[in-house]
């Protein structure tokens, strides 16, 4: 580990950091611009390169009738749908993953690994494939443009992730722990929630984190399956993608949309450092 390696290490880490931050810095700068400071070539530093305005930020609270986006309601819709979808997915996914990790299933040529693959393979389908059939199906149940309808779709989107992570996790938890619980007088359900569940917190946190990420970042389903009653954040923000794009309010909105999950990043890092998650992700 010479000096050379150390220098190289800091160089790479710094370069990558710049790359990671660059679009955010640009977005922050742009969010204080107006039409003129955008269309006359690139500008960077407020007061030096251009006269900053708060137009972009104000647009976030204004109604579209005044040229704004009003992302407040979509913001909370997004949080609600993502959290609800994640919760249900984790609940069902954890149960299924436990079953797949601990018990043997046989039906014809189908084995445990096939069932696990079936769960995970749902991620292979691009949203475009499912969007139309989902539209027709949700329409039949009058679930279009409702939070519930979106949650149903998010379950398909997120449960595979929960199953994938939790099967892996449970495979690493010694099954003797649950056996001991059974021997100590728990029936399988009690063993699950008194012993297995409390010891699966790291796995559940990881699964939850991935569910939150993939739920929060989805665009196409909410785009196609909602109209007016329920709008999610990405859809509301993309609705700024007009033929004259207001770069400033778009940048402000983008920054707002990033904020909640940055909190998630801190949580993840904390658990990583404490070593609680490593077992869950291995």
């Amino acid at each position: 580990m010479g000096l050379l390696y150390t220098c190289l290490k800091y160089l790479v880490v710094s370069l990558w950091s710049i790359f990671v931050i660059a679009p955010f810095l640009w977005a922050i700068s742009t969010s204080f611009k107006d039409f003129q400071s955008v269309t006359n070539g690139a500008t960077y530093i407020p007061w030096v390169d251009f006269e900053p305005t708060l137009e972009g930020w104000r647009a976030l609270w204004k109604s579209p009738a005044k040229g704004g986006v009003d992302i407040v309601e979509p913001f909370f819709n997004s949080i609600f749908v993502t959290c609800a979808g994640s919760l249900i997915s984790i609940l069902l996914g954890t149960l299924a993953a436990y079953a797949l990790s601990r018990f043997t299933f046989k039906a014809g040529f189908i084995r445990n690994s096939d069932i696990t693959f079936f769960f995970i393979s749902q991620r292979i389908m691009p949203p475009v494939v499912l969007a139309i059939p989902f539209f027709i199906m949700l329409g039949k149940f009058a679930l279009l443009d409702t939070l519930l309808g979106l949650i149903v779709v998010y379950i398909v989107l997120l449960m595979p992730i929960a199953v994938w992570i939790m099967v892996d996790f449970f495979n690493k938890v010694p099954r003797e722990i649950d056996e001991t619980a059974l021997i100590d007088g728990c029936n399988p359900y009690q063993a699950f929630y008194k012993v297995v569940l409390p010891n699966s917190i790291p796995g559940i946190i990881v699964a939850g984190m991935f569910c939150l990420i993939f739920g929060w970042t989805d665009f196409f389903f909410s785009f196609i399956l909602t109209f007016t009653e329920v709008q999610l954040l990405p859809v509301a923000i993309v609705a700024l993608n007009s033929s004259i794009t207001p770069w400033w309010s778009l940048s402000a909105a983008a920054l707002v949309s990033v904020a909640p999950l940055i909190a998630v990043a801190f949580v993840v890092e904390r658990y990583l450092s404490k070593g609680n998650l490593s077992g869950a992700l291995k």
């Binding site: 880490v13 475009v128 139309i132 379950i155």
Partner: protein, 288 residues
């Protein structure tokens, strides 16, 4: 262990998923046998005509597939290499360790469709900062409108967005490695490179394979980035399978045909991902 109770664990999840999916999948298959389009929205039956068209008369679909392979394999490879390097660098002592770790995770937490809009302004060829800075060197590359660079830009944005995913999985893997093999290696006097080749990498092989497969699955769906950044252009230079299916389905409203595309795509993806997984296991676990 084998109890009747096992079904009560598995079935809620499985049945919910099956229940939600059975209609969409069945409907897609049925739709692919019909000529449903914007003008005749009906489930008539035209046999395998759509599939015949797909296999005999649709070069664009197969070209899109080729492009998808190129884009997804390249991005996942880059994400893996970069993610692994970064994980190695912040694994052991480094100043501001926690800061870097959080920072490197952040891009993954952002919504692709939104961040790509920012990227589009970032690479805007006449109003964006990249070309503005490069113009000092008298070059103004056409990031989005030359065939080669547009692919590069899509890859760049994908790498920015999803390298953190690899980084996270691999860093967690590194942090959970046992200490003994490293002790043994240092006692044997192995340098950092030898330690990496003979200890770290083999130990990380299983988690690497998992991470790569999952990323390949996700990368093959690449859609939001292309949708915002280039709309598949210039020409068809960045048109991938899912974007082509999107064009046929939701732009041109050839539902029947796009269902046939979707179904064929799914089959191909499942088969090729299975093969890739097998190959990876062979390649990476060979050492052990």
């Amino acid at each position: 262990m084998n109890f009747k109770h096992k079904y009560l664990f598995l079935l809620p999840g499985l049945l919910v998923l099956l229940g939600i999916l059975i209609f969409p999948i069945g409907f897609t298959v049925r739709l692919s046998l019909s000529s449903w389009d914007s003008f005749y929205p009906a489930l008539d039956f035209i046999g395998l005509d759509n599939y015949v068209r797909l296999f005999t008369d649709d070069k664009r679909f197969w070209e899109a597939f080729g492009r998808l392979s190129l884009l997804s394999l390249t991005t996942v490879f880059l994400q893996y290499v970069i993610g692994f390097s970064l994980a190695l660098m912040v694994w052991k002592e480094i100043v501001f360790q926690r800061f870097f770790r959080v920072l490197f995770l952040i891009p993954m937490m952002t919504t692709p469709v939104i961040m790509t809009v920012i990227w589009r302004t970032f690479f805007h060829e006449s109003l964006g900062p990249v070309n503005d800075l490069l113009s000092y060197f008298d070059v103004t590359p056409l990031w989005l409108s030359s065939e080669l660079l547009a692919k590069f830009t899509v890859i760049l944005v994908e790498v920015w967005q999803w390298t953190p995913f690899m980084f996270l999985l691999l860093l967690a893997g590194l942090l959970s490695l046992p200490k003994e093999p490293f002790l043994a290696a240092s006692i044997d006097g192995a340098g950092p490179i030898r330690t990496f080749v003979y200890v770290t990498f083999p130990l990380m092989a299983p988690i690497s394979i998992g991470a790569i497969i999952i990323r390949l699955i996700e990368a093959s769906k690449i859609m939001d980035t292309v949708y915002v950044l280039t709309s598949g252009g210039p020409g068809t230079a960045t048109e991938t399978s899912s974007f082509y299916i999107f064009i046929k389905g939701l732009r041109e409203f050839q539902f029947g045909y796009s269902a046939a595309l979707s179904f064929t795509y799914l089959i191909i993806m499942i088969i090729s991902l299975t093969i890739i997984a097998k190959i990876l296991v062979k390649l990476m676990v060979r050492g052990n």
